[in-house]
Amino acid sequence: MAGTALAPAKVRVKTSEKRGHRSRIALVNAVPVTVFLLVLFVYPIIGVLSLSLEGDSGGFTLHWYADALSGVNLSVLLSTLRISAETALLSLLVGFVLAHAIARMRPVFAALAMLIVVVPHFISALVRTYGWIIMLGEHGILNTLATSLHAPGAPYSLLYNETGVVIGTTSVMLPYTVLVLQGVMRGVDGRLLAAAAGFGASRFTIFRRIYLPLVAPGIGTAGLLSFILCLGYYITPALMGGGKQTVVAALIDQQVMQQDQWNGAAAFGVILLLLTFAGLGVLGLAKLRRKKTAARRSSS
């Protein structure tokens, strides 16, 4: 009697031991990732956050944020946002045309075209930016050509102003938008477009009612990606803006390198991070709303 009563208990102990053992192993497996994230992401972010909230003589303060969001600093922040938005739009526009062309090519040529789009990205941003400076300068290739053709208004000032910065950053962001868009476009079932044509839809209607809605998620992702990347981008704006066109990243550099002002720089960093989160939030919200409208439709 005692034996039979004990036996299952023993078994139970064994299995629970085994389970405990297994979950302990799982925990051990998770350690490297956890440590990695803690050391390289969480700690620095908390460090920057506390730096941005620390007064000159210690203690809590918000005045770094007040500084960052007022006067010249605010206008730099706003122009950074504007440049990022312009870059996102322009790279979406150019990227869409490019990606659309590539998506329709035969695989071999598509791979080649993708290579041409991506390879410049392997070259140092510095070199690329100087390339643009040669192209766009007052006596650069483009202006020389325009002047010799007697184009109205030539030579254009394409460098050391916002136009120059946007051209530069767009060229940097383009591979990302093309990659994202091309992936989505390849996923569009060509037979759906043919089916729409079969119902008598014009090419414009097919584009507007079928193609565009099907690639819309990709457009959102690509646009936001280049916007976010552009927010913190430094080299190209610094060189092609010619010091006149300052962006937040340049301001941070200035504060740290020239003024040894870490607290203000940290505040800017946190603001950029929050803006990035806001961007991601917008995308997430859009997705959620799409889902909700779909759910509402199906329930009605």
């Binding site: 119902f199 439709r297 199906s298």
Partner: protein, 388 residues
């Protein structure tokens, strides 16, 4: 599963309603005639469709039946306008449409992959062709509502296609086509992705809608049974051309080529020679295994080597009759309503398959000696050099 069963029955009940809802107010049939001449298409030196000619009457249900690679889908794609023919012409009610864009042909298409627009709801999908035709909003809402109601899909109107089962999606695809009442509907294996039970039921629906509306339907399938159930006439395709274009009964009872004889159902082939010395009448075939079969009238030369084809169900076992072929029963398998027997004929060349016979009468036992014959009407004769 209960949801699926429910929608199944809903569909079954509503096939006639759907047809009624879609029927034009006037009683004239909506279908148009289609005539195809010398249609050819090759891809990089490989001829895929090699001279297809056919006349399809208004309101007729015609099926292209063939195995994959027979050119049936390419032919349909040329009719649809998605593929441009190398030569040949297509005319609807006498008007040439060979070079017309798919959208300008005003055909309806239903494909195996449904091709519903994934970002639109069921109702939006069905409304799409009507919007393209400039139908006003209230009318669109009414017709979409009616069509979905009749197809038993009303409660799915607001759903996205991916939230529906395969059968429901195919029904939506059908609604999307029928809602604008195209005179000619082309279907490329529309039921290929459905399970057997659902397929049977959808066949009934499609057939009853087609008949009710008087639609001209051109259908592609590799499923013989489906072709037989649906079609007024079947075009059997092989290597890019039509082997025979006939009613199901015609194909079964009077196959014009060995391929057709063997493809639809099954056939026993017996080699022999046309008997000499009977003038123009060459209906008597002396078989290589001994015995004589009397065949239907056909064009031939006395003394010619031929193959006679007889369906398993048309071979008769007789006790002894003039000219019957003697042999030994190898197997006899009872399969319900009838028994399948294989018989090895005396003198059959080694390697030739035994005769397959189906009989509803008391079957012989394996090893028993039998004599086999067939009625004149059930024997088709082909030139021995014909493939198949």
């Amino acid at each position: 599963m209960p949801e699926r069963t429910q929608s199944l029955t809903a569909g079954k009940l509503s096939a006639d309603d759907l047809a009624a809802a879609l029927a034009p107010r006037s009683s004239s049939p909506t279908g148009k005639s289609l005539s195809v001449t010398g249609l050819r298409k090759s891809y990089g030196g490989t001829t895929v469709v090699d001279g297809v000619d056919m006349e399809i009457a208004a309101g007729e249900f015609v099926t292209f039946l063939g195995s994959s690679g027979s050119g049936k889908t390419t032919t349909l794609m040329m009719l649809a306008g998605f593929t441009e023919p190398d030569s040949g012409s297509i005319a609807v009610d006498g008007h040439d449409i060979t070079r017309l864009n798919p959208g300008k042909r005003d055909f309806g298409f239903v494909f195996q992959q449904y091709l519903l627009f994934p970002h639109m709801t069921v109702a939006e999908n069905v409304a799409f062709p009507l919007q393209l035709r400039g139908v006003d909003k209230a009318e669109i809402r009414r017709r979409v509502g009616e069509t979905l109601e009749a197809a038993g899909l009303s409660k799915f109107a607001g759903r996205k296609p991916r939230e529906l089962s395969g059968g429901q999606q195919q029904r939506v695809a059908l609604c999307r086509v029928l809602v604008y009442r195209p005179p000619i509907v082309l279907m490329d294996e529309p039921l290929g992705a459905l399970d057997k039970k659902l397929r049977d039921q959808m066949q009934t629906e499609i057939k009853s809608i087609q008949r009710e509306l008087g639609l001209t339907v051109v259908y592609v399938t590799h499923d013989q049974e489906e072709a037989l159930v649906l079609s007024d006439r079947i075009a059997i395709m092989k290597d890019g051309s039509i082997e025979q274009f006939d009613t199901p009964r015609g194909l079964f009872e009077r196959p014009r080529t060995p391929f057709v004889a063997d493809f639809l159902g099954a056939a026993n082939f017996l080699t022999g020679k046309v008997e000499d010395g009977r003038g123009d009448d060459c209906t008597r075939v002396r078989l290589d295994t001994g015995g004589v079969l009397t065949a239907r009238a056909h064009a031939c030369v006395p003394g010619q080597s031929v193959r006679a084809a007889v369906r398993p169900g048309k071979l008769r076992l007789v006790s002894a009759e003039e000219g019957c072929c003697t042999g030994t029963v190898e197997t006899a398998v009872y399969v319900g309503s009838l028994t399948r027997i294989t018989v090895r004929l005396d003198g059959a060349a080694p390697g030739t398959p035994p005769l397959r016979i189906e009989t509803a009468l008391a079957p012989p036992r394996p090893g028993e000696r039998v004599c086999v014959t067939a009625d004149q009407d059930d024997v088709s004769v082909f030139d021995a050099t014909d493939g198949g």
